[in-house]
C-alpha cells in the first residue's frame, strides 16, 4: 500500500468512516485484531495520523504555534512533552504486544520474563488506545504541522509488509515522536527497535546492537544512567535468549534485577525454548521440568516461577512467590 493511500496525506485530513473498514483502515484493523484490542480502527487511524503529524513536527513548534505569552509557551511545551512521551509509550506497548503475539520466539520469551505483559497490562494498553482515539484533534498541532521539517516516509506504522514491518513502523514512529530528531540517533528509540528485533527472533543481532548502544552510552559525557539501566536490562534478555548464561548472571547480579545467582539461566533458557520454539518448530524442545521458585521479595523470580508454572505439565501447589533454597540449577526444588 502506498503512503498516500495509507494516510490520505500527512497533513491532509483523516480517514473515511463507514460500516466496513475502508482500505485505508485495514492494516490498522489487522494489528488491532492481533492485539485483540476492541478499539475502533477509524479512530486509531485518525490518532496515528495525528501522531505522524506530531512526529513530523520539530520539537517545540507545537508549543510555539500558540505563543501568546511566555508562560503559555512554557506550559504548552510541557504539554507537548507529555503528549509525545505518552503517545510513544503507547506505540511501544503496542509494538511489544504485537511482537509477543505474532512470532513465538525465544527473544519474545526473554522479554516476557524481564518485562512481561499480562492481561492487566494488555487491558491498560487497550484502554489507552480507546481514550487517546476519542480525543479531539489539537488545533495547535494542525497549525504547527503546516510544514513538517522531518521526512516521515519511513515511519508508516501500517504498511502492508506483514507483522514485522508494522511492529518496526510502530517502534520507529515512537522514536521519532519522542525526540523530534533523526530516527537512529536516540538511545530510547534505538532500544525500542532492538527490543522489537529481539522479540522477532533475531536475538544475536539485537545483542550486538545493544552492546554497541551500551558502549556509546558509557562513553557519552551526559548522565546516561537511566538509559543505561534499560539497555542493560534488554542486554540481559538478549543474552538469555542466545543462551549466554554467564553474561546474564553477570548483568543481573550487578544490576537492579533481583534474579538470584542460584537460579539457572540455562533452566530459564531451556524452558523458554521449550515453550516458544519447541512447539512451533517441533525441535529444540526439552522434556525436563525446569522449575525454580522465587525468593521472598523477588518480583522477577516470582515472574519466572509463574512463567515456568504456566508451562509445567503438572500443577504446582503452593504460592509461587514462596522462598526456595535449591541447588545451583534450581530445577525441581521447592521449599
Amino acid at each position: 500500500m502506498s503512503r498516500s493511500r495509507a494516510h490520505g496525506g500527512v497533513t491532509g485530513g483523516g480517514p473515511c468512516g463507514g460500516a466496513e473498514a475502508p482500505e485505508t483502515d485495514r492494516p490498522v484493523a489487522t494489528w488491532l485484531a492481533l492485539l485483540e484490542a476492541p478499539v475502533d480502527p477509524v479512530g486509531v487511524r485518525r490518532w496515528l495520523d495525528d501522531t505522524l503529524r506530531l512526529a513530523a513536527t520539530e520539537r517545540g513548534e507545537h508549543a510555539r504555534s500558540a505563543a501568546e505569552a511566555p508562560l503559555l509557551v512554557d506550559v504548552y511545551r510541557e504539554l507537548e512533552a507529555i503528549e509525545r512521551h505518552e503517545r510513544a509509550e503507547l506505540l511501544r506497548g503496542c509494538a511489544r504486544m504485537l511482537a509477543r503475539s505474532v512470532p513465538r520466539t525465544l527473544g519474545a520469551a526473554a522479554l516476557d520474563l524481564l518485562a512481561p505483559f499480562g492481561p492487566h497490562a494488555d487491558r491498560q494498553i487497550h484502554r489507552g488506545l480507546a481514550c487517546e482515539t476519542e480525543r479531539r484533534v489539537s488545533e495547535r498541532l494542525l497549525r504547527a504541522a503546516v510544514a513538517p521539517p522531518l521526512d516521515i516516509a519511513a515511519l508508516d506504522p501500517c504498511a502492508d509488509g506483514g507483522a514485522e514491518e508494522i511492529i518496526k513502523g510502530l517502534a520507529r514512529l515512537a522514536l521519532a515522536l519522542e525526540r523530534g530528531t533523526g530516527i537512529s540517533s536516540d538511545a530510547d528509540g534505538r532500544l525500542a527497535v532492538l527490543e522489537v528485533r529481539l522479540a522477532l527472533g533475531d536475538p544475536a543481532a539485537a545483542l550486538a546492537g545493544l552492546d554497541d548502544l551500551a558502549d556509546e552510552l558509557r562513553a557519552s559525557k551526559a548522565d546516561a544512567t537511566v538509559a543505561l539501566d534499560a539497555v542493560e536490562r534488554a542486554r540481559a534478555a538478549a543474552a538469555f535468549a542466545v543462551g549466554d548464561d554467564a553474561t546474564v548472571l553477570d548483568l543481573l547480579g550487578s544490576g537492579e534485577l533481583a534474579f538470584d545467582r542460584s537460579a539457572s539461566a540455562g533452566a530459564m533458557h531451556a524452558a523458554a525454548r521449550h515453550r516458544f520454539l519447541g512447539p512451533a518448530s517441533g525441535a529444540e524442545g526439552t522434556d525436563r521440568d525446569d522449575c525454580f521458585l522465587a525468593p521472598v521479595g523477588s518480583e522477577e523470580r516470582g515472574r519466572v516461577a509463574r512463567f515456568l508454572a504456566a508451562r509445567s505439565p503438572r500443577p504446582i501447589d503452593g504460592p509461587v512467590d514462596g522462598p526456595i533454597d535449591g541447588p545451583g540449577d534450581g530445577r525441581g526444588q521447592r521449599a
Partner: protein, 208 residues
C-alpha cells in the same frame, strides 16, 4: 517521566487517596473546580481555564507537596508540569472523583521534574536556573548547588526527610526524631548520610 500507565495507577490508588488527601488537608481548590476538567475538551481548553487565577490553587498545593516529599525542586516548574499533566489527563479520563486525584498529579509532576533534572546533563538547558539565582547571594556555585540537589533528590525518602527536618525546618533532634518516627541517633545518621552523599557528588563534579 511517568508513563500513562503509572499515572493512572498512581491517580487511582485507593490507599493513595486517603494518604494524599490527608497530607494536603490545608489546601482547597475553588468550588466547582471539577467543572473545569470536564471531558470532551482539548487540553488547550482546559489549560485556558486553569491558568486564569489558578482556580485549583496549584501553587499552594505544589509547595505543600514538595515540602512533604522533602525535595529540592523548582516550584514553578512543578506547577507548569502539574498544569500540563492535569490538562492532558482530564481530557482523557474526564473530571476526577475527588481532590486526591489532583494531589496525585502534582506528586507525579514533582517526580517528573526530579527525573528531568537527573536526566539533563550538568551543562544542559536547566543548568543555570533556578540554582544560580539561589546560590549567588550566599556565595555558592550554582552548578555545585544543582549537583548537590540532584544527588539529594535521589536519596531514599527517610534520609531526605531527616535532612529536611534538621536543616530546612530547623527542628531539634528530638522533634525531628518524633516527626520521623525513629530515634534521635537514627535521624542524625540518616541526615549525615544524605549530607555526605551530596558533598561527595559535588567533589566528583569539581574533579571532573
Amino acid at each position: 517521566m511517568s508513563s500513562p500507565l503509572s499515572r493512572s495507577s498512581a491517580a487511582r490508588s485507593t490507599r493513595g487517596h486517603v494518604t494524599r488527601a490527608a497530607a494536603a488537608g490545608r489546601w482547597r481548590p475553588d468550588a466547582g473546580w471539577r467543572d473545569l476538567l470536564r471531558t470532551g475538551r482539548t487540553p488547550e481548553d482546559v489549560l485556558e481555564r486553569l491558568m486564569a487565577d489558578d482556580p485549583l490553587r496549584l501553587r499552594a498545593l505544589a509547595g505543600q507537596r514538595i515540602r512533604a516529599s522533602a525535595r529540592f525542586v523548582d516550584a514553578d516548574r512543578v506547577v507548569l508540569r502539574g498544569l500540563a499533566r492535569i490538562a492532558h489527563a482530564a481530557t482523557l479520563d474526564g473530571p476526577p472523583r475527588d481532590r486526591s486525584w489532583l494531589v496525585a498529579e502534582v506528586d507525579a509532576a514533582i517526580d517528573d521534574v526530579v527525573a528531568q533534572e537527573r536526566a539533563a546533563s550538568p551543562g544542559g538547558e536547566h543548568d543555570a536556573s533556578p540554582f544560580e539565582v539561589l546560590a549567588r547571594p550566599v556565595g555558592l556555585d550554582g552548578r555545585a548547588l544543582r549537583v548537590a540537589c540532584d544527588d539529594f533528590n535521589a536519596r531514599p525518602f527517610v534520609e531526605r526527610i531527616a535532612f529536611f527536618s534538621l536543616f530546612v525546618e530547623a527542628r531539634s533532634l528530638d522533634a525531628a526524631a518524633v516527626a520521623c518516627s525513629t530515634t534521635p541517633t537514627e535521624v542524625a545518621r540518616r541526615a549525615r548520610r544524605a549530607l555526605d552523599s551530596m558533598l561527595d557528588a559535588v567533589q566528583e563534579e569539581v574533579q571532573r
